[in-house]
Symmetry: C2
Subunit: 160 residues, 2 copies
DNA sequence: TTCCACAGTTTGATATGCAAACCTAGACGG
DNA sequence: CCGTCTAGGTTTGCATATCAAACTGTGGAA
């Protein structure tokens, strides 16, 4: 798969993959939709019920996620035409995003975790460790750099 | 810090830490605000310029993030009253969320990464590995479970 | 005494979000 | 044959949120 097959809308503010990602999946319902599909709920009605999204918004969002390459729409019967939704590779990759959001929510937004994700015999945990070197990530070991001429970490460089 | 010091709004749909987290930081600007503060840009004007958020929305969001316990507002001069914004522990923990979103965006939403985050001598990468056992996370090694009586992975159990 | 910096607030037009009702096409039951 | 149910959306009418731009208030610098 090519580097960036997804739609890349222009973003205001700092050029940043986080902002670009949020342009695609940063609205109120997208990640909940992906969560449900990841849970095995592929049909419009299931997704509507389990996310709580209004049906019109859901229909609109599903179209956009399909257009963006996160979901794939499959016709599971021809007449009357009925389709369900499946994750693409890009959609499956959002599992990581959902997991760290879950970890943050478990810690900070909820009394006790309503959903658990188990990996082999233990609770899955993704955050906190660099998967390249295996060491815990501490803020002081990190450095950040911008690779765009007009911006540095403080903001836009040239006079706009 | 106690288990859930943050405001916990009631959510429609499946009870889920992801949804709870998104209730707090799931709007259009919150994560970009946190990104900027994490980058060391603490002032209202800097955040407004670097995120592209309208000033009124930004002011409203900052208030909500302070109320939710993600940011802390500090007066850095008394007259005229001027404050800036700093991350709480909960806010700092969002660094992981930003990082996996960046990794997803680098891969799927952007031609080439505009921002790089380096950990010691290599590019930071968080996704893909379970930090408990160190093994790569594959979908088939995961099982999910709901701990709420009225819901299972398919949806609500009782007749609502 | 005039301009600028800075953190917001106000304003008025526009876009978006929502719940509920509706549509279409077939399947199922009597 | 007739009514009802399932299912994936679409339409409608209204309420709310969002936006860009202008404005406010306070102090410091020229």
């Amino acid at each position: 798969m090519s580097p960036a097959p997804l739609d890349v809308p222009a973003v205001a503010g700092r050029p940043c993959s986080v902002a670009a990602a949020l342009e695609i999946i940063g609205d109120r319902w997208s990640l909940l939709i992906v969560r449900e599909v990841l849970f095995g709920n592929h049909r419009f009605g299931e997704i509507a019920r389990n996310t709580g999204a209004p049906r019109d918004r859901l229909a609109a969002r599903l179209k956009e996620l399909v257009a963006a390459g996160v979901l794939e729409q499959r016709e599971y019967q021809a007449s009357p035409p009925r389709s369900d939704y499946h994750l693409t590779k890009a959609g499956r990759d959002l599992g990581t995003v959902l997991q760290v959001l879950r970890e943050w929510g478990d810690r900070w937004a909820v009394e006790s975790p309503p959903v658990s994700v188990r990996h082999h015999d233990h609770e899955l945990k993704i955050g906190g460790v660099c998967s390249v070197c295996g060491e815990p990530v501490r803020a002081r070991d990190l450095t950040r750099e911008m690779h765009v001429p007009d911006w540095d970490m403080a903001g836009p460089r040239a006079a706009d």
